[in-house]
């Protein structure tokens, strides 16, 4: 048997999603963003929503999400993605509108916009990458940084008396009447990736059904910011991040 005999559509078990373009990603090797981008692209494709999808990119590492996922995008000011998404969806109810936000965007500068969009029950999906650090600006403390965790602005570790406590914002969002689905997932193992994909799919479906706001938090690694190898970062995340941010559904209506 020749190799060409094997390369047939019926034998294909994996391919790059059609909606993930060929731009070189700026993400560090080992970063969770790449996996989540792939899942978002796959889910939009599988839902047949490529012609109606509108992404709202944040400020942070995912600021260039619009370079990678091949749908219409607006690049929002820091923290304001939910406000832009609110207008994009209300003015075009037939579109699939989602935000893609980091922890600074969702839980620090954009707390008001994020909570209020969710509280109004905007029919959008909010994807929230929580890696406990500001990657893009060089590793500063995030609102979700764990106590004791070292960052460039908490060089001796985060202290509650100086820096306050890590903010589990999805827990707040699950309590809002406007949200229909709030879940916390991760992408460090194939099993986790499959669950995360199912969560994204459900969130997108909810928003098209007009059920309210769906929030998918992906507890993620930032091995560069954490100054670890990708493998060590995955292990550290499971041992430390999951204690504060346990994986699973917080709300599923």
């Amino acid at each position: 048997m020749d190799i060409q005999d094997i390369i047939k559509p019926e034998n294909q078990v994996y391919r790059k999603p059609a909606l993930l373009n060929d731009s070189h990603m700026h993400y560090c090797p080992g970063c969770s963003h790449g996996v989540v981008h792939k899942l978002v692209a796959e889910v939009i494709e599988e839902l047949g929503a490529a012609e109606i999808a509108i992404g709202i990119a944040p400020v942070g590492c995912a600021v260039f999400a619009y370079n990678y996922i091949d749908v219409d995008w607006i690049e929002a000011p820091h923290g304001r993605a939910p406000a832009l998404a609110t207008a994009a969806k209300r003015l075009q109810p037939d579109k699939l509108v989602f935000t893609y936000q980091g922890d600074g965007d969702m839980a620090a500068i954009g707390t008001a916009e994020s909570l209020h969009a969710a509280n109004r029950g905007e029919n959008i999906a909010m994807i929230f990458i929580n890696n406990g650090i500001y990657g893009m600006t060089g590793g500063q403390m995030a609102p979700t940084t764990l106590l004791g965790m070292k960052t460039s602005t908490t060089p001796y570790g985060r202290r509650a008396d100086l820096n306050g406590y890590p903010l589990a914002i999805t827990g707040l969002m699950a309590q809002l009447d406007g949200t229909c689905y709030v879940t916390r997932q991760s992408v460090e193992t194939p099993a986790a990736v499959r669950k995360a994909k199912a969560a994204l799919r459900k969130a997108f479906e909810n928003s098209m059904k007009g059920k309210g706001t769906s929030v998918v938090e992906i507890v993620s690694t930032c091995n560069s910011g954490w100054k670890m190898s990708p493998a060590d970062a995955n292990k550290w995340m499971e041992e430390n991040m999951f204690k504060k941010y346990p994986i699973g559904d917080l709300k599923n209506e």
Partner: protein
């Protein structure tokens, strides 16, 4: 069809928007312009034209909703008053940098800080010199009547879409709150998605028929490309300066002194001119309608035939800087202004003119 009504300036803004075929309003209450949101909620245009009306959680959210809607090629606006407009500057800079059309209404109140709820024109610098960060301009229209509150909404959107740039109505608390007769124009339907796709091919409305994706962004980390973006903005501004200067000139052909005033102050100056005429004093008025682009050329021309210019503003002296630049310091330019929400009487303006120019009566 057209309709003649008696209403406040702020109410006219709301009716003008619905009749223009606006797609959305996003705002946060603040005195003295809360009637805009109140009238829209009372009119319920979502049941008639399909217009979206939303009370946002803050001015920050409101301007970013406008940014989102404008990026979709929709006809959207927000309104606020001075402190709220300060909060919106971030979003306004992004809207300018993203080259999307939007309309922002500032019904000015006295500042700085929380200031007062009464009329002021002290946001002139903020409106015409930038306001937010970076090299950009807004097209700034200054209504001086309830009719113009209505008409300039339409003009503002027309210009914003023509040049793909944000426009601002710079009104003040007086024009917002006063009641006058207004002719509301015949309503127009909202644009369909097909029309938006045709007229705004850059709009964020999904890759229908798998067209090439659209991206609206203000970010460009390649400095060479960012400079090119900036040069493109500047070319647009040059075009606007060439084509869109608007002003009203009254008695400027035969006057000894010239008032330059906008908005409610231009109305007061008209009264001053009436009183002065009875006393044998000939005063003309140049009322800039576009504060940016500024009618510099017209002011310079008139300045060659007058003894002096007085700029009358509800500020400590902001527009006077542009008037001085216009006349290139070849003529004495005086200023009269009241601050903190005080509106001057015509008599005190005339007294000031007479005193500052040592006019013998």
């Amino acid at each position: 069809m057209e309709e003649v009504r008696l209403m406040k300036g702020n109410e006219a803004l709301a009716h003008a928007a619905i009749r223009y075929g606006a797609d959305g309003y996003f705002g946060y209450p603040i005195t003295p312009q809360s009637e805009v949101l109140e009238v829209l909620e009372e009119q319920r245009p979502w049941e008639t034209t399909g217009m979206v009306v939303l009370q946002a959680e803050s001015e920050l959210a409101a301007i970013n909703m406008v940014y989102g809607g404008a990026s979709c090629g929709k006809v959207v606006f927000t309104s606020s008053s001075s402190p709220g407009i300060s909060l919106m500057q971030e979003g306004i800079s992004y809207i300018a940098a993203s080259e999307v059309p939007a309309l922002i209404v500032n019904v000015m109140r006295g500042g700085p800080g929380l200031g007062t709820i009464h009329p002021s024109q002290a946001d002139y610098f903020q409106a015409v010199k930038g306001g937010g960060h970076g090299d950009y301009h807004l097209i700034v229209l200054a209504p001086s009547s309830v009719q113009e509150m209505c008409d300039f909404m339409w003009l503002g959107w027309d210009l914003a879409f023509k040049y793909r740039t944000p426009a601002m109505l710079l009104a003040d608390g007086l024009v917002g709150q006063m009641m006058e007769k207004v002719i509301l124009p015949e309503p127009r339907p909202r644009r369909t998605e097909e029309q938006i796709r045709e007229q705004c091919p850059w709009a964020i409305n999904g890759r229908k028929n798998m067209r090439k994706r659209n991206v609206v962004t203000s970010l460009e980390l390649d400095d060479e490309l960012m400079e090119q973006n900036n040069l493109r903005f500047q070319r647009t501004y040059k075009e606007i300066e060439k084509n869109e200067v608007r002003y009203e000139a009254i008695n400027t052909d035969d006057c000894d002194y010239l008032f330059v005033a906008f908005g409610s102050m231009a109305r007061i100056c008209l009264k001053v001119m009436e009183i002065a005429k009875e006393q044998g004093l000939k005063i003309g008025l140049l009322r800039p309608i576009t504060l940016w682009p500024f009618p510099s050329k017209q002011i310079k021309e008139i300045s060659q035939n007058v003894k002096g210019i007085m700029v009358v503003e509800l500020s400590a002296g902001q527009m006077i800087e542009d008037v001085k630049l216009a006349v290139e310091c070849k003529l004495d330019v005086k200023h009269y202004g009241r601050l903190g929400g005080i509106v001057p009487t015509p008599e005190e303006v005339l007294e000031s003119l007479i005193a500052q120019f040592s006019i013998n009566r």
